[in-house]
């Protein structure tokens, strides 16, 4: 049996209240807040974080497939699943692919992953769904859309939920789209989109699934579903005869907003986190048709290793005080930006060092060091090193808050960090209040966009205050 072995979630730290967006434009506003990716986050870095959460306690070397699902890939041409696979530590022989451009990319990716395993092509496949969607300013989309990522690991071992059946339909419909050069998602007619692209297609797929699998919808534990508008989700529940309070998995619209492809996968993670064994969960998503997938939880769901998950991610948040800060994060204001130098050749040579967070241990004196030296920095022994994975936690040895390179009112902290288990590294800090940085502070290491030198996305590690410190 194929099924879900693990899940992981990532919400960016910052939340912007809908009332603040309303205030900015003098518009009415909806309830709650939305999650906003930092200026150095995109769908790739957030997919990485959800992937790390999903692989808690699991050897990434055994994961031989990765599918990245998004409508907001940071490249129009260039696959991102290989980037995420390298950072997560998957083997070079892992099968990687991106499924993009449709809102049901996440469910299609899960179905595809299951088929890869059933066919014998792969043994364990990670699906990372992640979105940072751009909405037009002064629009209701701006209040609706939020950023977030979720990941699930499919395999045939240690399953927390069995994958039992699926049903898909394909539909040509002009619902939501973004052309080659459009900055923002476009709509023609809300009612058409809600009634047919979303509700009509999802209902057809779920009913088809119930009939095919021979289940009664009234008896399922949870429906984890995409949505166009949260009210439409209630409409679906009514039309399917579901009890919305008991049976709808909360997609967290009021706390993180609607993160497109990630939305149904986040709702699915929420269902997994809050469901007893032997419950049916339907995962459904719309987008140029619809997918409906049926899972049944196992006893093992009670003994999953600890992870940040939905609860941890909801607890770990900081307010984004102003719309202006949001505009800065999303680069909605025109500013001259520096263009640091970069080289695709150096990246080719150093990618394992840069993305793998690898250091080395001198076999003569035992010093763990970074980056990969030829000659030991302490005992000067040449070429006697063993590569080691550095731990992504440490303490600040010294730091400065730099107002020069930041180019703005807020400084960038540069931190010398002594890592747990050895190694010293030098990183800038993100998601922080610079005034509160101090020597001895505990930090965690996160994967971020560093700059756009040479016209490509240069990703690297940064540090941020550890969650323990924040709580």
């Amino acid at each position: 049996m194929v099924g879900i072995e693990s899940y992981g979630v990532y919400f960016p730290l910052y939340r912007l209240s809908r009332s603040e967006i309303g205030r900015a434009w003098g518009m009415p506003s909806g309830p709650g807040e939305k999650a906003v990716a930092s200026g150095d986050e995109d769908s790739v870095t957030m997919g990485v974080e959800a992937g790390f959460d999903c692989l808690a306690g699991i050897d990434p070397g055994k994961v031989d497939g990765l599918i990245f699902a998004t409508t907001t890939a940071p490249y129009k041409q260039k696959a991102l699943a290989p980037t995420i696979a390298l950072v997560l530590g998957l083997p070079r022989t892992a099968m990687t692919m991106d499924i993009t451009d449709t809102l049901r990319a996440g469910t299609t990716a899960i179905k595809t992953a299951a088929d890869l395993i059933k066919s014998g092509t792969c043994k364990k496949v990670l699906v990372a769904a992640s979105e940072v969607r751009m909405s037009e300013q002064e629009s209701f989309d701006e209040q609706m859309l939020g950023d977030g990522a979720a990941a699930v690991l499919l395999s045939e071992q240690n399953l927390i939920a069995d994958f039992r059946d699926s049903y898909s339909i394909s539909d040509e419909i002009i619902g939501v789209w973004r052309k080659e050069n459009d900055d923002y998602i476009q709509h023609f007619e809300d009612k058409l989109e809600d009634s047919f692209a979303f509700q009509g297609n999802v209902i057809e797929a779920i009913k088809g699934l119930a009939q095919k699998a021979g289940i009664e919808l009234k008896e399922i534990g949870k429906l984890a579903c995409s949505y166009y508008d949260p009210r439409g989700l209630l409409g679906i529940a009514g039309k399917l005869g579901l009890n919305p309070l008991a049976q709808l998995a909360d997609p967290l619209f009021t706390s993180i907003g609607n993160p497109g492809v990630s939305a149904p996968i986040i709702a699915f993670a929420n269902a997994l986190e809050n469901t007893a064994p032997r419950q049916d969960i339907i995962l459904a998503a719309h987008g140029d048709g619809a997918d409906a997938l049926l899972f049944t939880t196992t006893e093992r769901i009670k003994s999953l290793p600890p992870r940040i998950g939905i609860k941890g991610n909801l607890a770990r948040k900081a307010p984004l005080f102003s719309y202006e800060q949001y505009a800065k994060f999303r680069k909605l204001t025109r500013r001259e930006r520096s263009n640091p130098k970069a080289s695709a050749v150096i990246h080719y040579r150093d990618k394992e060092l840069e993305f793998g967070f690898l250091g080395e241990k001198c076999q003569n004196c035992g010093t763990v060091q970074f980056p990969l030296n030829r000659v030991c920095i302490i005992c000067h022994t040449k070429d006697k090193f063993e590569k080691v994975k550095l731990t992504k936690r440490g303490k600040i040895f010294t730091f400065t808050n730099d107002y020069i390179r930041s180019g703005g009112a807020q400084p960038v902290p540069w931190c010398v960090i002594d890592l747990e288990n050895g190694g010293r590294i030098f990183l800038t800090m993100t998601d922080c209040e610079p005034d509160k940085v101090k020597i001895g502070m505990e930090v965690e290491i996160v994967f971020r966009i560093y700059h756009q030198g040479a016209g490509f996305h240069n990703y690297y590690w940064r540090c941020r205050p550890s969650m323990k410190t924040r709580a």
């Binding site: 060092l353 840069e354 060091q369 302490i378 107002y403 020069i404 020597i439």
Partner: protein, 390 residues
Amino acid sequence: MKTLKDKVAIVGVGYTKFGELWNKSQEDLLVDAVYEALDDAGMEAREVEAGWCGIQYEFTGVSGGAPAEFLKMYGIPFTRVENFCASGMDAFRNACLGVASGMYDVALACGVEKLMDQGSRGLPELGGARSIALQFPPAPSIFALAATRCFEVNGWNKETLANVAVKNHEHGSHHPKAHFRKPIKKEDVINAPIISWPLGRFDCCAMSDGSAALIITTPERAKATRHKNDYVKVLGSAISVHTLLPWLHPKFDFVGFPSTQEAGKKAYEQAGIKNPAEELDLVECHDCFTITELLNIEDLGLCPRGQAGKFVAEGNCNFGGKIPVNVSGGLKCFGHPIGATGCRMLVEITKQLQGRADGLQVKDAKRGLAHNLGGAFTVAAVTILGRNDT
């Protein structure tokens, strides 16, 4: 290691005013400084047998061809020396080795940098693309890493740093060639806008243009020049290079500079100096940032480790104090045209020892030390000069 002591004499010095020299090019600056040095030596340009010029940035000029072209000194060996902020002093050291080896009788050591042509928002970034894992922060952030650590370990604070700025600006207010010539108040230093915490605007030296030059020869030949009575001798000159990436060195403590310590030790050995605070009459030490001067004072052995804050606060490094540091006003008042600074300090020490300082004159100075520290505390240069009767 052998010594340069008694093998090299300085017979001519020259330097430009330092500052925002909008109407001067690097050619103007180098020609002004070198011809002032030649005039001071009573020599013609054609008497120079070899030249070394400190230039850090390629926009100031690449290769020995740049200074040779400005000066039209064709046909002799001319070398551009780049060694971060020690570029100028390393040019001088190379010239000394040229004379001490017996290869050349008359050599030119000079330095020039034209920073303001590139705009004034901090030092321009260096070089081409490199691995993203080998990041190099802006200069103030590099030294701020040491300041933050010293606040923690030595109990220093913004006032400890401010004492250095106030002292050097008081000194520099007397110097006609300094970029800044106004005394400043301690509270203004402490409350200035932050550049890289904890370093504020007055903790940092300025972006400036400038050039300096020295004509050196053998002591024997010096006795036949117009400075036969007051030529200045080299007592020792050393360079030490330590890690380029201290933030990745697992044992780097950020409360001292190993390169300065090592260069100081080697220069003292050459000069036969055992107790620097007693035997030296003045020190021009690298004060690109206030924290830099404090740690260098300790590294050069002028006071015990961890005590520089107190040592400066008590006035020991003031003009008239136990061991005056940066009586010229230092980099704090002259700014730091990188390639020129080391030579500018050596010009200052030479004129002090000759009793003809342009700013405050240290009374009866016999021995003086000049020091640079460049990169990420990476390259340190120390040169000790003495009157010819020492």
